[in-house]
Structures are given as C-alpha cells and as structure tokens.
C-alpha cells in the first residue's frame, strides 16, 4: 500500500513539475530590461470584451516595443468569475510579488477593488484601469495614470434613446442587470426608459451570467407575457435572453437588446435574433491602455490623458457591423472579415 501511495505521489509531482517546466520552457528567457506587465480582467474569454481588450493591449504593446527594440512579458490572470473580488485582489498581490512594472486592471467591480488600488498605489506601480473612463473620486485617495474605457452611463442612455424611437409610449419592458452596483444601474438606464414612456414591468439581476439571464428571461416570460422589449446589460446576458426567447418560440415577437456587441451578439444581429446592441471598440480601448504604458515608459507622463473615452455606437444591422466594428473582433477569432452577408 505504501508503494502505491508513493507512486501516486511521484506521478502527481511529475505531472505538476512537468507542466511547470513546460510552461517555463515555453517562454524565452527574459532580458533583464524586459518590461513586465500584469493584466487582470474578470475573465480571459476571447469572445468577451475583456478578451478583445487583451487583443488590443497586445497589439499596441507589440507595435510599440518592436519599433523601440524593447521586450515585454505580459502576465494575464483572471479570477474564476466576475464576482470573485477576493481572487482578483490575490492576483494583484501576486503581481506585486512578481515585481511587475505596470498593472492593467479591469476590476471585477469599480468600487469593490478599492483595496487593490490602494495596494498598487502604495507600491508605486503605474496603474491603468480598463473598461471605465471615470477617474476615481478624490476622497478615495487613490489614482491611476489612465482610465481606458467608455462611459457606461452614455451607453445606457444611447440605448434608451435608440429604443425610445422604435416603440410607442406604454410598451412593456424588462431589464436584466448584471451584479448590483453602479455599472448595472448606468447600463440599465431605468429612469431614462421610464421617462421615455416605457412601462418597466420586470427587473432582475443575473450577475453578468448567460445561464442566469436565460433563467431570468424564462421567469419574466411566464410572469409578464405582454413584455415586448428586453434590455440585457451585458453581452453574455443578452445571448442568454435571446436563447430563452427562442426556446419559448417568441423570436420576432419580443425584441432583445444587448450590450457591448461581442462577436456572438453580432452573429445574432446578423441572424435577426438580437434587435441591436450598443458598441464600443474594445480593441481601441486595449490600445489606449498600451499607449499609456508607452508614454509613461518614455517619460512622457504629461501626455497621458487620464480619462480616455471611446465613443458609443449602436449596431443593429450587417451594414452597421461593417461600418463600425473593428475587423480584429472577427479576425482575432479566426473569422473572415468582412463577415458573410446574410
């Protein structure tokens, strides 16, 4: 029995050791002047905004470092999910242990990672915040050199104005939020919808999760069969809502509106199953994060715009995709550009 346990332990050790050696061997030995950049978003899913942001970040860093003859190493780590605040804090701590030169942080929650911002600031590591363009309030006592993102508020309002033109006053609407908080509120823009004459009959929180949004949509379809418009506050939740509407055989009768225009949402728009989604270019935002690092490294801190905002558009057709979407959104996923016309 002892032998068996010993053998099993050795196998475990070899497996771990081998994997680590493989990982270490896969990376070329870093030059001493290699820039070390830590990147932690809530998810590394390539189909998600965060994955595309990373594409833009890498593109920007590649272009700059190749031209400047520099090398960089990007440590990309994400927590288990969007609500794993504690895990993201641990990742930041580990980045600091690794001695990274820059940290690009897309927080699991803007307010929820205050502890992480403090820690990074105290270490004097230049910080870039992604996905948000609002600088931290002064009374927080923390700062970042750039907020590369967009206004969630503007996105919510843009969608509210868009749908207001399409439906008569009194139309029943449901809003599916992500996790409770500022971003959900701003993207949901409930007050705007009400002011525009909509009757918001159902609201639910689906934690930015597709399955939870599917369940929420099923519930709302049962409780409020007269709903005509569903506003989903994230891409994944929009896809979940569309699938639930499809499953209920109500495609064409209920319009689902998404948020972010990821490739899945774009496919659904082309198919006519998602009415529209607001859009901001994640590739451009990632490049803006890389630009801040470049400017800082070159000692041009004065040129770094603190709040970097990308404009919001609405994608509701194939033509709008070709006109507004960054081709990397497709080519980065191994898809042809422009996409096939339906």
């Amino acid at each position: 029995m002892k032998t068996r346990v010993l053998v099993a332990f050795v196998v475990l050790a070899l497996l771990l050791g081998g994997t680590m050696a493989f990982a270490a061997g896969g990376r070329e030995a870093a030059r001493p002047d290699t820039l070390r950049i830590g990147y932690t978003p809530p998810t590394l899913d390539k189909a998600d905004f965060m994955g595309q942001f990373e594409e833009g970040l890498i593109k920007g860093l590649d272009e700059w470092t190749q031209a400047a003859g520099l090398e960089y190493e990007l440590f990309s780590r994400s927590p288990a999910d969007h609500a794993a605040h504690q895990q993201q804090l641990q990742i930041v701590e580990d980045f600091l242990t690794l001695g990274v030169d820059y940290i690009v942080l897309i927080p699991t929650s803007y307010e929820g990672q205050l502890g992480a911002y403090r820690m990074i600031n105290e270490e004097g590591i230049p910080l870039v915040i992604g996905n948000y363009s609002d600088p931290f309030p002064r009374d927080w006592g923390v700062s970042a050199m750039r907020f590369a993102g967009y206004s969630h508020y503007d996105a919510g309002v843009a969608m509210a104005e868009y749908v207001a033109e399409k439906y008569p006053s009194g139309t029943s609407m449901a809003i599916i939020y992500g996790e409770a908080g500022k971003v959900s509120e701003e993207r949901g823009a409930k007050e705007y919808h009400i002011a525009n004459g909509f009757n918001v009959v159902y609201e639910d929180y689906a934690d930015w999760d597709r399955v939870k949004a599917y369940d929420a949509t099923e519930r709302l379809l049962t409780a409020y069969p007269d709903v005509e418009v569903i506003i989903a506050c994230s891409s994944a939740m929009a896809v979940g809502a569309v699938q639930a509407v499809d499953a209920a055989g109500l495609t064409g009768q209920i319009d689902v509106y998404g948020a972010g225009a990821t490739i899945e949402e774009l496919d659904l728009i082309v198919d006519g199953r998602l009415a529209a989604a607001w859009f901001r270019d994640p590739i451009q935002i990632g490049e803006a994060a890389a630009e801040a690092i470049q400017l800082h490294h070159e000692g041009r801190e004065g040129e770094i715009t603190e709040a970097w905002n990308v404009p919001i558009g609405i994608i509701d057709s194939y033509d709008a995709i070709v006109e507004q979407v960054n081709p990397i959104t497709y080519t980065g996923m191994g898809r042809p550009w422009p996409p096939e016309r339906p």
Partner: protein
C-alpha cells in the same frame, strides 16, 4: 547516527500504527511539503518572504472558515451556505461603518452577529426540524445571498476608515493581523476538538449518532453549537475579507464554500463524520494556497491552473480513500 535514525523511524512507525489520525496528518503534510518544494523550484520568487506572507494572508480567511467547517463535517453534517453568510455579514459591516458612519467596533460586532444569526438559523432548521444539513444549507445558500442583495439594494459600500482597513493591513511582530487571527482560531479549534469533553463528543456524534445519544450526549445541543459556530466564524472571516477589499458587495464570498470544504476534506476530515483533523485542515488550506500561488507565479495558464487544482483535490482524496480501504 544510524541508530538514531532507526529509533526515530521506529517511533514514527509505532505512532502511525497506533494513531491513524497521525498517519493522515503526516501524509497530508508530506504532500504539502512536496508541492511546496515543487512550487519553489518552479518560480524564483516563490520563497521570497513577501510571497510567503502573501500566501499566509490569503489563506487566513480560509483557515477561519476551515476550522468551523471541520467541526461541522466531524458531526457528519455540511454547510454550503458559508459563502452567502459572508455576503450578508459584509453587507451589515458596510452598512454600519460606511453608510451610517458608526464606530468600527460596532461594525465588527454587526458582522459577527450577522454571521452568528445565519448560523443559528441553519442550526435551528437542522436541529429542531431534523432537515438534512445539505438541504437546509442549500436553501440558505441562495436565501442568504438574496438577502445580502436586498439589504444592500444594489449598492456597494467602500472607502472604510483606516482603523478598519488596519485589520487586514496592519502587522504585529512582522506578520499581518489576519495571520494572527487565523492562528488564534486554529489553536483554539484544535484544542477544543481534541482536548475538551465537548470536542470529543462532537467526534463521537459524527461517528455514531445513536451510540452518542445512548451514551448521554446531548446531540441537539452539540449540533446547534457547531452550526452556530460556523456562522460566527464566517462573520469573523468576513471582517478579514472586507478589510482586505476595502469594500462590501453583496456578491462577496461567492465560491468560498467549495474552497473551504475542499481544504477540509484534503486535510483528512471525513465527509461522513466521526473524524475531524484541525491540523489536516490547516495543511489543506495551505496546500491550496501554495498551489494557487505557485502556479500563478510559475506562469501556468489560468485554464491549466483550474485543471491542476481540481486534479490535486481528486488525487489527494483518492489516495487517502484507497489507502483506508
């Protein structure tokens, strides 16, 4: 020299033969040591004092939760609502300290009280209505989380006073305060489970409830105690995590239950009751902490990290099960 080695080896074998718990803890320790060495080889920054402090600080909260969970599992029960208890407790702490601007000590009491209340709620259903713990805590897992969202009403409390943040970031004798909190809780838990009459009764209850009852043990009282204690310790862990994050959101604590249960089971505490090993729990928590940290520092991709963590869990528990058979 050879005779000393023989003597030590002989005593070790004798100790193991007479004490299966010792064997389990020793084997867990050896696996932990093996993983620690592998991680140290895999990353040149792993052994830096700062990184070791990181691992200890990150593990502190799970040690506190693990002590509570060890008691619960030893009785043959389970509590999968601990993560949601953290959600409620953090909401209460944030509301008291940030929203109402009340003194920090009141927020701490509120957090501990909220955890204790959640634990007592579970305990009442499990003890008096005799509903299986997995059913009760599955229900309260959702219910407590929902209550946390209702309580916070879509807001997040943040920017706590310095005196509160100091709980996570302050140091005593060079070590972060959460490590000291975890150490005190662990020592108390170990002593209570192994050296007190009530502790031994808890083990007896998990081993054979009927026999324990016939032996005059107040089974209801014990069960109520362990689930209430779990809640109280969840409140204590919440203080650590809230101070670390400097924010309180209703979603905080999601997934803590699985991490905690996994740590305790890796440490050798039986899922079926009758065997609780606090030392094993400490090893289990540290093992997961070391592996998570080491894999990240070694540059293993995030996706592989999840695979390896799951594999280690299944392997360690699998070896032990095979060994026991």
């Amino acid at each position: 020299m050879a005779s000393i080695v023989q003597t030590v080896s002989g005593k070790w074998k004798e100790l193991g033969k007479n004490n299966p718990d010792f064997q389990i803890v020793a084997s867990t320790f050896l696996i932990f040591l093996g993983l620690f060495i592998i991680m140290a080889i895999g990353s040149d920054v792993f052994l830096r004092p700062r990184n070791i402090t990181n691992i200890l600080t990150q593990s502190a909260m799970y040690v506190v939760l693990g002590v509570g969970m060890t008691f619960v599992l030893t009785t043959g029960g389970i509590d999968i609502s601990v993560g949601s208890m953290v959600g409620i407790a953090t909401a209460v702490i944030g509301d008291i300290i940030v929203n109402h601007g009340m003194p920090v000590w009141l927020g701490l009491l509120g957090g501990l009280g909220a955890g204790l209340a959640c634990g007592m709620f579970n305990a009442a259903f499990i003890t008096f209505l005799k509903i299986p713990p997995i059913i009760v805590t599955l229900g309260t897992w959702t219910m407590f989380r929902g209550l946390a969202y209702v309580y916070l009403g879509g807001t997040i409390h943040y920017n706590f006073p310095r005196s509160f943040i100091a709980i996570a970031r302050g140091r005593f004798l060079g070590l972060p305060i959460p490590v000291w909190i975890a150490a005190v809780v662990f020592i108390w838990g170990h002593y209570f489970l192994t050296r007190t009459k009530t502790g031994r009764q808890i083990t007896a209850l998990g081993g054979n409830e009927e026999a324990a009852r016939l032996a005059g043990i107040n089974v209801k009282r014990l069960r109520f105690f362990v689930y209430s204690l779990m809640g109280f310790l969840a409140g204590l862990a919440t203080i650590i995590v809230t101070a670390r994050l400097d924010s309180s959101a209703a979603g905080t604590g999601a997934g803590f239950e699985m991490h905690t249960i996994a740590s305790v089971v890796i440490g050798g505490t039986s899922l079926f009751g009758g065997r609780g090993l606090m030392l094993g729990t400490l090893m289990g928590v540290l093992m997961l902490g070391v592996v998570e940290n080491g894999l990240l520092l070694a540059g293993i991709s995030f996706f592989w990290q999840r695979v390896l963590l799951g594999f280690i869990f299944v392997s360690v528990v699998g070896f032990r099960t095979v060994r026991e058979k």
